[in-house]
Every structure is written in C-alpha cells, then in structure tokens.
C-alpha cells in the first residue's frame, strides 16, 4: 500500500513518540532480561559478554545462564524482600485510601467556589520534591524530633518514641507521599456523582449512611481502583522511603536492587531482581492501563 501524504503526516505524529518509547522504554526491558542471564565480572561495564544469536540455535540455548535466578530463589533475603515489599505496599495502599477517602469526599461536597483552591492545595505537595517531603519527616520522627518533643510536652509519653528506622516510619512515609495520587482520582470520581441521586435515595427514605454505601461508594469505585493502583505499583518498588526512613530493619526490593547495583556492582543480579519485580507488577500495570483507557473512552 502506498501511503497518501495525509497518512504520512499522521505517521509523523504517531511515529515520533512511538519510536522514542520503543527505544527508551520497551527495548530496555529486553536488555535488562538479557543481562540478567549473564555473569558479573570485574570490568567496565561490569559483566561478561552475554550470549549472541550468531552461533546457531543449539549453542544459543546452551549459553543461557539462569544462575542469577536460582541464586535469588535460594537466598531467603531476596524472597523476603519481595514478600515484605508486597506486604508494605498493600497495607500502605489501604491506609492511604482510609486517609484520602473522607478528605476527597469532603472536597467533592465543599462549596463550588472553594473547590479550585482545595484542588490546588492537593496539587502543590504533589509537585513538591519527593525527597524533600521524606526528608521533612526525619526531623519529625527521630527520637529527639518534633513528634517526641510534642508528645512529651503534652505528658502523653515520658520516653522519646522509637519510630525512625522502623517499618512504621516507612508506612507513614508512603501514606504521606502518595496521598495526592489517591486523592486526585478519588476526588474526580466523587465530584462527578450527580447530587440528585442522593436526594432521590433520601426521598425514598434511605438513611445517610445507607445512601453512602449503596449509592456514593459504588459510584466512586473507579476512583478507588485507579487511586489504589497509582499507590500500590510504585510503592512496591519504592527506594527513597525505606532507605531514608526504614533503616536497616526494613527489607524492600527497591532497596535490595539499589544495593546490588551501587554497592555490590553486580549488574546481572540487579537485572534479575528487576525482571522478577516487573513480573510481579505486570498484572497491576496492565489493569492500570486498561482502566485509564476506559476512563478516556468514558470521557468523550
């Protein structure tokens, strides 16, 4: 088929971002996978040359080396890192939802004149540096920090709290930094609900609590779903929060990958860790993409 000039222009528009993402987003995953099958070496870059396809199919398969993977599965450190990342991400997603829902609900029901201002107040921390917002919590949570000083002054506790460098600090950090990611989709779906539906439920004798569970909550589910995925997926691979707040007690896979790469300079093992992390996350990522596409179609 010969492309007409109009089609050609169309392909310029599609082609530029498409090619960019192919080269810098999709193909890199294959390189990570390829490297995960090679050995570490003291060289620059620090790994042995991996297999090549030039020597025929039989020797190709004999070159494949799953050593890194068998190592990961034999060492409980890695398995525990994956499991504890999933656990921390799961519970912090639920905590974030519990904090964000009443707030998003309040915002959606606030006077219309207030809503742009409230939205801006949510967006502002969302745009503020992640690293800085985590850093701010160190001064609050450390034993001689603001929280302990405050609670001792109030007479609630007598000894400084030991929150810093525990998993609790990681939960606080994740809930705090991912809260806007939960709030924005929740607010968007709650704000869309037609108030007359609730009035109808009320007119028909439904109690406010019951109208909430039977009308409002089901209609806000797309927002709940999107918000949970936006928090859960990146939280599983989080590095900065467990590193700065969690101390050495908190095992998370993002931190393990970082250590393998930067401290042990074992690029092939770090790649194998990344491949397995991606395998764990592929289902939620596909769900997220489908949800976004549905949202886009519903928006027309």
């Amino acid at each position: 088929m010969i492309a007409r000039p109009r089609d050609l222009r169309r392909w310029y528009v599609i082609g530029a971002p498409f090619l960019w993402l192919l080269v810098f987003f999709l193909i890199p995953f294959f390189i990570v996978f390829k490297l995960s099958l090679s050995d570490v070496a003291t060289a620059i870059p620090p790994y042995t040359p991996t297999f090549s396809f030039s020597t025929g199919i039989v020797s190709f398969f004999s070159q494949l080396d799953f050593e890194n993977y068998s190592f990961i599965f034999s060492d409980s450190l890695y398995i525990n890192s994956y499991l504890s990342s999933l656990k921390i991400a799961f519970f912090s997603t639920i905590l974030t939802l519990l904090v964000a829902y009443p707030m998003a609900y309040g915002m959606a029901r606030a006077p219309k004149a207030w809503q742009p201002t409230l939205m801006m107040l949510v967006i502002l921390p969302f745009w503020t540096s992640f690293l800085i917002r985590i850093y701010a919590w160190i001064a609050i949570l450390k034993p001689e920090g603001f929280l302990s000083i405050f609670l001792i002054k109030l007479g609630i506790i007598s000894e400084p709290l030991q929150i810093m460098n525990t998993t609790t600090a990681v939960y606080i950090g994740i809930v705090y930094s991912y809260l806007p990611f939960m709030l924005l989709p929740l607010y968007a779906s709650l704000e869309k609900i037609n108030p007359s539906l609730l009035e109808a439920a009320q007119d028909l004798g439904s109690q406010p609590w019951r109208s909430f569970w039977q009308v409002t909550f089901p209609l806000s589910l797309p927002g709940v779903f999107a918000g949970c995925l936006l928090v859960f997926i990146p939280a599983v691979g989080e590095f900065v929060i467990p590193d700065l707040l969690g101390g050495s007690d908190t095992l998370m896979i993002g931190k393990t990958l970082w250590t393998e790469f930067f401290n042990n300079r074992d690029w092939p093992l770090a790649s194998a860790v990344a491949v397995l992390l991606l395998l764990v996350l592929i289902v939620p990522i596909v769900l997220f993409q489908r949800q976004q596409e549905l949202e886009r179609e519903a928006g027309r």
């Binding site: 498409f18 993402l21 990570v32 207030w114 503020t128 690293l131 800085i132 701010a136 990344a274 992390l277």
Partner: protein, 274 residues
C-alpha cells in the same frame, strides 16, 4: 450542603491538609533557625541561606539540574503533546494498545526499574554517561506525564471546531497551529511545568543514568541527608519548595484566566446571536 461546609467535611479536609502541610511548614520554619539543631528553636537567622551561596558544589549541581530540567521538559512537552493527539484524535491504528501501554506504564513503573533499564540502553548504545544521558532519561518518563495532562484537555474540547476549520480549507497542520494549539495552550504550559518539576525532583533515575561529572541537586541533597538533618538542607529545600509554589500558582492563574476568557467570549457570541 450548598454554599457552606458540613461539620464532617470541614473536619476531614482540615485534618488532611494539616497532615499534608505541617511537615513542609516545619521544614521551612526551621530553615530560618539560628541553631544548628533543626528541632530546637534559637531565634531567626538567614545564615544558612548565605552559607548555601558559598557552597560551590551545590551551586554546580543546581546549574546541572536546571539545564537538564529545561531541555528535558521542552522535548518531553513536544513529544507528550504528539502522544496526546495520537491517543485522542488518531482513532485505532496498528500498535495502539502497545502505544497506550507505553504511555501509561511509565507513570506507575518503579523508578529503580526505569533507571536500571535506561542505563543498560545507554551502555548498549555506547553513550558516554553524564548530562545527556540524564536528559534523555528524563525526557522518557516525563513525556508520559505531559501526554496525560494534554490528553485531558484535548478530550474536553469540541472536535467540531477543528472540523469546521478544515471544512473552510485549513490544512491539518494549519488547523493544529491556528485552532487546536491556542485552545490547548494552558494544558501544554502545565505539562511543561509538570515535566520541569518532575525532572528537578528525580533522584533515582538520575543516579542510575549519570556519569562522572554530572551530579544533580537531588543527588547532592540525598548524599547529605544520609549523613543527617542539617539546617543547610532545610534552606535549599525551602528554596525548591518556593520555586514549585510559584510555578503551580502561575499555572493555576494562567488556566483560570484562560477559562474565564473563553467563558466571556462564549457569552459574547451568544449575546450577539440573540
């Protein structure tokens, strides 16, 4: 409910915002603290800001970070706008699902995976690591955010305006620059600002893709934070928070003015017709 807050709503909003803002406020206040201890107040001082000005390493890092952010935000906004047009206006084409997957997946992809995979591509391509590899990496992940921001606006506005322009003989390219772009301009500006702040902010991806000689501000801050909390970091953080606040307020102002103007024009048009 109309016109005022209910008791429950006001409380949950107040608690939520207190949670979001108190840590940042404490950080800003204690950047003006006289004492080296960041949790004990000892009077006002701006000495930590003047000591920042003498820190050459920090200034160099800030300069690298700003250059990376300006270049990557600009390219990412162009690519992101094209991607948004593709998603909203191009209908179905072969590879569409793959394309939308590649736009949405980077939004949630953990930074450690994105950083590692980009580094391996740069090594495979034999590129020298440094300023340009960080910039390319930042373009890649910020363009997806830019695409989502522009896409939301493109979806909202009436396609028939574009069709009218084309019926009147405008070329597709002419229609884009004379009709579509002015309408989506506020979202393009927001997209640029978001890409800029995301690039300014990134620690993990930059750490993976950098080479000798290119240290960004977050990398510098991170290495100091690991050594402990200091008023100097509070001061640099306050400056960054200030820049972002001004940026967000400007973007909001532009958007609001644009919407008001559009509203006014619509009313005038209807007024003239009636």
């Amino acid at each position: 409910m109309k016109g005022r807050f209910s008791w429950f709503n006001a409380t949950s909003i107040a608690f939520g915002f207190a949670f979001l803002y108190i840590p940042i406020l404490l950080l800003v206040i204690f950047s003006f603290n006289e004492s080296k201890l960041v949790t004990v107040w000892a009077g006002w001082s701006t000495k930590w800001y003047s000591s920042l000005l003498e820190n050459q390493g920090l200034k160099d890092a800030a300069w690298v970070t700003i250059r990376v952010a300006v270049v990557s935000a600009t390219v990412a906004t162009v690519l992101g706008t094209l991607a948004a047009i593709t998603l909203v206006r191009m209908g179905g084409f072969r590879g569409r699902t793959l394309f939308s997957g590649m736009i949405f997946a980077p939004l949630v992809m953990p930074d450690v995976i994105t950083g590692l995979s980009l580094l391996l591509v740069f090594v495979a391509l034999g590129m020298d690591r440094g300023f340009w590899t960080i910039t390319l990496a930042h373009i890649t992940f910020t363009m997806c955010y830019a695409a989502v921001v522009v896409q939301a606006r493109l979806q909202d506005f009436d396609k028939s305006v574009e069709e009218a322009a084309m019926d009147l003989g405008a070329s597709p390219v002419g229609t884009f620059f004379q009709v579509t772009l002015p309408i989506i301009a506020p979202s393009v500006i927001s997209a640029w600002l978001l890409a800029f702040t995301l690039s300014l902010d990134d620690l993990v991806i930059a750490s993976f893709t950098t080479g000798p000689g290119a240290t960004t501000l977050p990398m510098k801050i991170y290495s100091q934070v690991r050594l402990g909390v200091t008023p100097e970091i509070n001061a640099i953080s306050t400056i960054l928070v200030g820049i972002v606040t001004v940026g967000v307020l400007t973007a909001a102002y532009i958007t609001r003015r644009q919407t008001n103007k559009a509203e006014l024009e619509r009313r005038r048009a209807f007024g003239a017709a009636g």
